[in-house]
Structure formats: C-alpha cells, structure tokens
Symmetry: C2
Subunit: 288 residues, 2 copies
Amino acid sequence: MNFNRIAIIGVGLIGGSFALALKKKGFKGTIIGIGRKKENIIKAKDLGVIDEFSTEPAEGVKDADLILLATPVGQFSEIVEGIKQNIKKGAIVTDVGSVKAEVIKELKKLMPEGVSFVGAHPIAGKECSGVNAASPDLFNNTRCIITPDENTDKTALEKVFELWNTLGAKTVLMSPDEHDAIFAAVSHLPHVLAYVLINAIMDLNENILPHGGRGLRDMTRIALSPPELWRDICHYNKEHILKSLDRFLSSITHIKKLIENSDWDNLEKEFQKAKAGRQILESDKYKI
Amino acid sequence: MNFNRIAIIGVGLIGGSFALALKKKGFKGTIIGIGRKKENIIKAKDLGVIDEFSTEPAEGVKDADLILLATPVGQFSEIVEGIKQNIKKGAIVTDVGSVKAEVIKELKKLMPEGVSFVGAHPIAGKECSGVNAASPDLFNNTRCIITPDENTDKTALEKVFELWNTLGAKTVLMSPDEHDAIFAAVSHLPHVLAYVLINAIMDLNENILPHGGRGLRDMTRIALSPPELWRDICHYNKEHILKSLDRFLSSITHIKKLIENSDWDNLEKEFQKAKAGRQILESDKYKI
C-alpha cells in the first residue's frame, strides 16, 4: 500500500472497519484514530482497531499521508478547518460520506496547497453503529463510489482507487452530482421513508407497532440509523432528496387514487411492475 | 388433535406449511390438498406435504371436518359458494387471510346450517411463495390472530385456537375490525409503500435500482410478494388502508416541509422519535 501513516477521524462502524480491513489486508504502517469522545477512542485502541489515538484532530493528523474523514458529514468542514494547518504536504484527504457535491465544494476550498482531496462513498453500513460493530470484512464485495471532479489530482485519485480495491471493494467512478442524484433515490429517500413510516404508525396508534411482522421489521430496520447522520445527509443533498420525495409522492398519490376508485386491475399492474423491478436485484448479477 | 380429515384449499407457502406443521406435531389423520393447478398439487403430494389431492374443491372437501382456505382472499367467496353443498355438518371452515371484516361478512352468509366459520390470520410469510417454500416451522413462535365475532360458535373457536397453539403459534384474540385497522397500518401500508418505492425509483431513472445497498433491498423485499394477493387485500381492507395512507401522507408532507425549510433541528427530532419507536421492536419482549 502507498501509505505509511493513516489518520482516521471518527472511529465508528465505518472508520473502525476501514482500520480493521487495512490490517487484514497487510497494511504495515501506523493507524492513528482520532475521536471527540475519549472513552470511545480508547476502546478502539484496546480492541486493537487502531495503533495510536488522539482526541485532538490538529495534533493527530500530523505526519499522516492519508487522512480519512469518517464522522457524520456535517462535521467535515469544521474538522478540516481545524486540521488544515497541520496536514503534511503531499498528503491525501478522503472521506466515506454518503453525500458528495456540496460537501466536496466546501472541502476543496479548505484544502491547503499541495494537499489533494478525493471523495469516496463505500456502500456499506449496518443499522448498528460504533466501533463495536466494526468488521474487517465490511467492505468485501461491496461497491465503493469514487467521485472525482475535473480538478482532482490524478495520482491521488489512483491511490484512493487502489486502496479501496485492496480492501476488497468494487470501485466505481462517478461525478459528485451523479452520485448524489442516484443515492438520493436509492438510499436517502428509503431512509427518510423508514423514519416516516414508524412515526405514521405510532401516530395512528402508539401501541400497535409490535404487531408488525418480519416485513415491517425489515422495512424499517434502517430507521435504527443515527438521526444526526441522516439529518446531515438531508441538509447536504436537499435538492435531490426533495426531487426524489416529489416523485415518490406522485407515485403514492396515483396508487391512492386507484384504491379510492376501486381500480383493482390497474392496482395489480402497478404491483406487478414493482415486483418485476425488485426481482432484478435478486439476479446473480446484482445480488449483494 | 380434534380432526380426522383436513382439507387445505390452496397449497402454497402458507397452506403447505400448515400441512407440514400438522404432520410434525403428530397429526395422524388425512390431509387432502386442493388446488386449481394440477402440476402444483401433484408436486405437493410428491413432496409428501399432503396425503391426497384434488383439483375439484367440491369433491375434495367431502368428509373433511376442518377446511382451511389458503388461497388469496379474493377467491374465498367463490370457493365457498362452490363447496358449500358438500361441507359435512359439524365441520369447521377457517382461513389464513390477511384481511378479515369484509371477508368474514361475505363468508358467513354462505355457510350452510351446522357449519362454523372461524377467521384466523397467522402473522407468518416470506416474500417467496409456492409449496417449495413451505416449512413445518413457519408458524413457530409467530403470532396467529383469531378473529371471532358475537356469533362465532364457541366450541369451533376453541378448536381453532387449540389447533394453532399446537402448531407452535402464539394465539391472540381480536375482533375482525380491530384486526383490519391494526394490520392496515403495520402490514398493508408497508407492502403498498414497498411497491410504490420501487416504482418511484424506476420512474426517476430506470437503471439506478441496482445501486441500492442492503437498506433498500431489505426495505423492498416485500415488493416480491404476490401482486394478486395484495390487490385483494387492498380491495377488502380499502377504508382502513386509505386511512393509513392518509396518515402516512400527512407525516411525509410534514417531513418534506422541514427539509424545504432547512429546519434541520426539527428534522433530527422526527428521526430520533422514529428511531426510539423502532428500537422497541428490538427489545427481547417483541423480538421475532
């Protein structure tokens, strides 16, 4: 691997799994974990996830040749503002955030001369969070979207690309805006809907949730995700998420009309179309 | 068990699992499977799920002392219309349908003198259907809602109650209307939303679905359910489903406004409320 000292800011599920995957894949350098909460970061050290730790980002990033931002995206700018004086010339800053265009625009302005930023988004996650849930295999066979723009340094891009391949991910290149449009639809919208569904059911009758079977439980598992993270994602991908929400609202209003009009044949056709669409994800090509 | 000859009309996932569970729990009588499609019902016989088969409901139910309706609910009335002449006096007719009040109203009118109907709804299912997916353990530890009304024969009710307990289910009594109001919210609404979500994403861009991660896949797994079944359920539980849909639409419109207004604090509060609600289902008491 191309790095000797890697700093991970935010050692939770993703940051911790990144560290464990590095070690499993033979990384021989030093991994320093940086976190706000001392007890968490000490736990990460005790678990052997990281080699060193710091609660001071500006101190922790010194001498690192790769800096990974793995906190909720809403904290990225403030963190980079705080560390930028101490980033080594030639270092690469990268991230694992679920939203790209707006965040990258902000971060690029903050990068010091000679430091490259390369955006990345591994499509991995669980509803549980924290370093206890971290696993060296979290990125195995999952896709990792790398989102360069026209100014991204080619060498830095190549190194980040190679790194994620080494960790077992299937890397895909995409522009930041293309990424945000796609993930607004296939990830951000579903998360918002999962939260909304739970609240709507509780508003109907606060005691009935436990009657839900496996279908409801699987469907709303992602409502266990960290609210702060999804608030930030809605903030940074507002326009695309609103567009996806509008599309969803049109679709559901249409279905509601079919039910109101007792138009059962067209309702069944809509269900059939959806089933056929969902079946694509069960094919060997797309199975994850 | 209180029965000697059990007829199962519709030997798919639920009907087949019912037969397998009966055998596993020591039922020594005869199980006859009845189905429209000869190849399916022969397969059920070859798999040892049923002892005898018939493609003629009116023939097949003769001498049965328990008749289970396990087709999509939309077919129940026509089936009972066709078999009612041949139902043995003293027999019990029961079902496994996901919707109760309207269906029971229709069926009760059709029951011959001396035949009792008892509605039931085991909260078990998978997205896959068909007798190949049947399992003797499908009902183990799942709830089964029994929905008597003021006219239900007490002895018949007790026998159906006991039967589901014997099969491993946890039985719960509820009125048909209470059942339909609750399951409109915790089951029928989520199924409709899963179908709508897939269609909305494909309408945004028909190629992006495979970018979805585990969250989207788990959330839309139930969109693989049989469209005909869910069309029937929307038909028979129309009013409660529309009420649940309206509640959901209010909730999502509220969330959309918070995003439009960049009211991130209140958005996070909504997400927190949902997460706390969803966490209830992770407790030991409600884990399934």
